[in-house]
């Protein structure tokens, strides 16, 4: 059993003008599912599973909203970087 080394957290303002709904949420989930780490998103104290699109949609995060990204696991550093820049970015595709 490996010792818990903590996790990485980062507060980010949602950059996407569309907010974090189905389409950008789907992209976020695609990225987070590639990680071996656990991924969570938190808004106003509500924490959801970052690998579930339905749970992410529940947050109704809009552009400019502050969300907390939490990545916990073996590739957490890579995860926080990739997911963090996606959240802050304006990718509308």
């Amino acid at each position: 059993m490996r010792f818990e080394e903590g996790m990485l957290e980062k507060e980010i303002r949602v950059g996407n003008p569309l907010g974090l709904h189905a389409r950008p949420a789907a992209k976020f989930v695609k990225l987070s599912q590639k990680l071996n780490s656990e991924v969570y998103l938190e808004k106003e104290g509500e924490r959801v599973n970052g690998k579930s699109i339905l749970e992410i949609m529940m947050l109704a995060a809009e552009q400019g909203d502050l969300v907390k990204l939490i990545v916990d696991g073996e590739d957490e550093e890579k995860g926080i970087e990739i997911l963090g820049s996606f959240l802050a970015g304006k990718d509308e595709t």
Binding site: L18, G19, H21, A22, R23, A26, K27, V29, K30, S52, I53, L54, E55, M57, M58, L59, A60, A61, E62, Q63, T93
Partner: protein
């Protein structure tokens, strides 16, 4: 905001029988036309908007639920159509499973907050297994409206 305010019972179907994504979208938008929420001229435009969205990633979000949605500049308010397929529809879902419950959410441009809040509430209810089971078993559109109203009362209590 209440989801029930967006739903006309004429835009709810408890026995959708279609094959595949295109037919499902056609059926759902047809419900809005039938209920008088959109015009025949808007139907084609809306179907195109929804297909473009689906091409970028399925709105089949898992749990047997599909939430196709979009914004259309010629609409003046948010509307919601609901259809249940007892057999399930292949909708290219994220978890690969067929979709039994469809929520089609359409709104005008420029209401991002209300639109997102409505989507969030549909997502929250869809996660609730009991809610999904009751919706799938409903036998009339009125029953579906009642289930949503009760769930919403609980949410806002």
């Amino acid at each position: 905001m209440r989801l029930t305010e967006y739903i006309n019972p004429k835009c709810v179907s408890v026995d959708m029988e279609v094959k595949g994504k295109d037919e499902a979208l056609e059926f759902l938008v047809g419900l809005l036309l039938q209920g008088g929420s959109i015009t025949a001229a808007q139907k084609k435009e809306i179907i195109n908007i929804l297909k473009k969205r689906e091409a970028l990633g399925s709105t089949g979000v898992g749990y047997g639920v599909g939430i196709p949605h979009g914004k259309c500049s010629s609409m003046d308010k948010i509307v919601l159509a609901i259809a249940v397929s007892k057999k399930g529809v292949d909708f290219d879902s994220l978890d690969g499973k067929p979709v039994h419950i469809f929520f089609l959410l359409l709104g005008p441009e420029g209401t991002p907050t209300e639109h997102l809040k409505a989507l969030a509430r549909i997502a929250r209810f869809s996660k609730d297994r009991n809610f999904r089971e009751r919706i799938v078993k409903a036998e009339t559109p009125e029953e579906i409206l009642k289930i949503i109203k009760e769930r919403e009362d609980k949410e806002l209590a």
